[in-house]
């Protein structure tokens, strides 16, 4: 759906070209056709916000067809746009069905870690499939998604494309967390985010960060525990590295961790790399300050964890 990211502005560019009038007329006729279907015989006018929403829905569907059928944007406007929309609606129906199945799988494989936002979002995505309107609001996401991803989706991605991508990313994160002992994961949360069950944060993020830290110094990543000595080793190794070198160090560490954790799928490895993009800047600053304690977390011993530790 990359093409859709610029759908509206690209269309404008296209309408600025020599065949501006033809494209405008075709879009206008398409819009009239859609409004007639939406309004029936009840009304011939609509509020401008609704019209814009219908137009966005049509453009979303056109660009989806262009993307799936690999048709250049300038060529798709030469086709019969009503046929293009019908083709788009067929694609959307198929996507709807497939995403619904993927959502079921995602829920079946959901983490057994309590977090209000995680579970609420998984539940809310179910509403999407009840409310999604492929005919007049294909670009909308009619459900509330609060749980943040480790690597967020661009806000320009809309409609079912967003939901597909969100489910895919959650599944990758779930698979990654499945590589670890759940008790260790919970200890990590308890050591850094005491009220993790109620907090809005990504469950994968602290785990991935500690895994990268351990992989940087080639330690056992499954422990999820980074000691003070290990943090000092990272500081002494990293203090002379440039920004690019730290970035490449992180990248290399992810590759190392993926081998250890037996993660082979290239899309998962790429996702983990993307998710750790922001770490290099934070890490470089922390190395300068010689304090990594807020990045790489030490697990508190079980018996020591009590609310008093966090006061």
């Amino acid at each position: 759906m990359k093409q859709y990211e610029n759908a509206i502005s690209v269309s404008k560019e296209y309408t600025d070209a020599s065949n501006q009038q033809i494209v405008m007329e075709k879009l206008w006729d398409l819009l009239k056709w859609q409004v007639r279907k939406y309004n029936g015989i009840d009304s011939t006018s609509l509020p401008i916000e609704k019209v814009q929403s219908l137009l966005e829905s049509l453009l979303y569907t056109i660009y989806l067809v262009a993307d799936i059928d690999n048709i250049p944007i300038d060529l798709i406007f030469q086709k019969n746009l009503q046929d293009v929309i019908r083709r788009g609606q067929t694609i959307l129906e198929e996507k709807h069905k497939a995403a619904r199945e993927n959502r079921k799988l995602m829920c079946l494989k959901a983490l057994k870690i309590r977090n209000v936002y995680y579970y609420e979002t998984l539940k809310n995505i179910g509403q999407f499939f009840k409310k999604y309107d492929i005919y007049s609001a294909a670009h909308q996401i009619p459900c509330s998604i609060e749980y943040p991803l480790c690597y967020p989706i661009s806000e320009k991605i809309k409609g079912i494309t967003y939901i597909e991508e969100y489910i895919c990313r959650i599944q990758i994160e779930n698979d990654f967390l499945e590589c670890f002992d759940q008790k260790q994961i919970i200890r990590l949360y308890e050591s850094s985010i005491p009220d993790y069950e109620e907090m809005l944060f990504n469950l994968c993020d602290p785990v991935l960060t500690n895994v990268i830290g351990l992989a940087m110094i080639r330690q056992e990543v499954r422990t999820l525990n980074i000691t003070e000595e290990q943090r000092n080793t990272i500081i002494s190794t990293g203090c002379n590295k440039t920004a690019e070198e730290i970035e490449s160090w992180i990248k290399d560490s992810i590759s190392f961790a993926c081998v250890i954790l037996n993660i082979q799928a290239t899309d998962e490895i790429a996702y983990l790399r993307n998710a750790s993009r922001g770490l290099s800047i934070r890490l470089r600053e922390a190395i300068k300050q010689e304090d990594l304690s807020h990045i790489f977390i030490s697990l508190l011993p079980n018996e020591r964890i009590s609310p008093a530790d966090f006061i």
Partner: protein
């Protein structure tokens, strides 16, 4: 908004011609009641419709409400050639305003029908009463419902 296709501009360029033709055709019926629109009148009416839609935030996809309005009102005893255009301008503006105000709960036909019945009934040809009292009440009724026993103006609605 700068990146968006300007829907209103699209609309303005493509819509006027067929709208003019349809309004012009209304003269065949309205002239039997002594009411005729000149080309200037038609342009003025379309101009005022465009302005009303723009101010209210609506887009018209058909040929506007004017043809329906003309057919519904042309036999009115309260209309003559002198007040014809001015009345249509106000009726048309009120139609779009209250269509939005009623949150799309009424069809075009229902609103026009209500306007005709009220104009010829309770309003006794008063545009002011029709627009500022009856249509406003109708919209309140649409949005909030009415208390049947207490609402004395219910007669306007049914």
């Amino acid at each position: 908004m700068e990146d968006r296709i300007d829907i209103v501009r699209m609309y303005n360029q493509l819509q006027f011609q067929s709208e003019k033709e349809e309004i012009r055709a209304c003269n065949d019926v309205a002239s039997q009641f002594g009411l005729v629109l000149t080309e200037n009148d038609i342009n003025e009416l379309i101009g005022s419709r465009v302005l009303a839609c723009k101010n209210i935030g609506r887009i018209e996809f058909g040929n506007g409400i004017l043809p329906q309005m003309i057919y519904a009102f042309c036999d009115s005893p309260y209309l003559d050639q002198d007040n014809y255009v001015n009345t249509l301008v106000q009726l048309q503006e009120a139609f779009y305003y209250y269509k939005s105000e009623a949150e799309e709960r009424f069809t075009d036909e229902e609103i026009v029908d209500f306007m005709v019945r009220t104009f010829h009934g309770r309003a006794q040809g008063s545009l002011e009463y029709l627009i500022e009292t009856s249509l406003a009440d109708l919209c309140r009724y649409a949005r909030c419902g009415s208390e049947e026993d207490k609402d004395e103006k219910e007669g306007d609605f049914f």
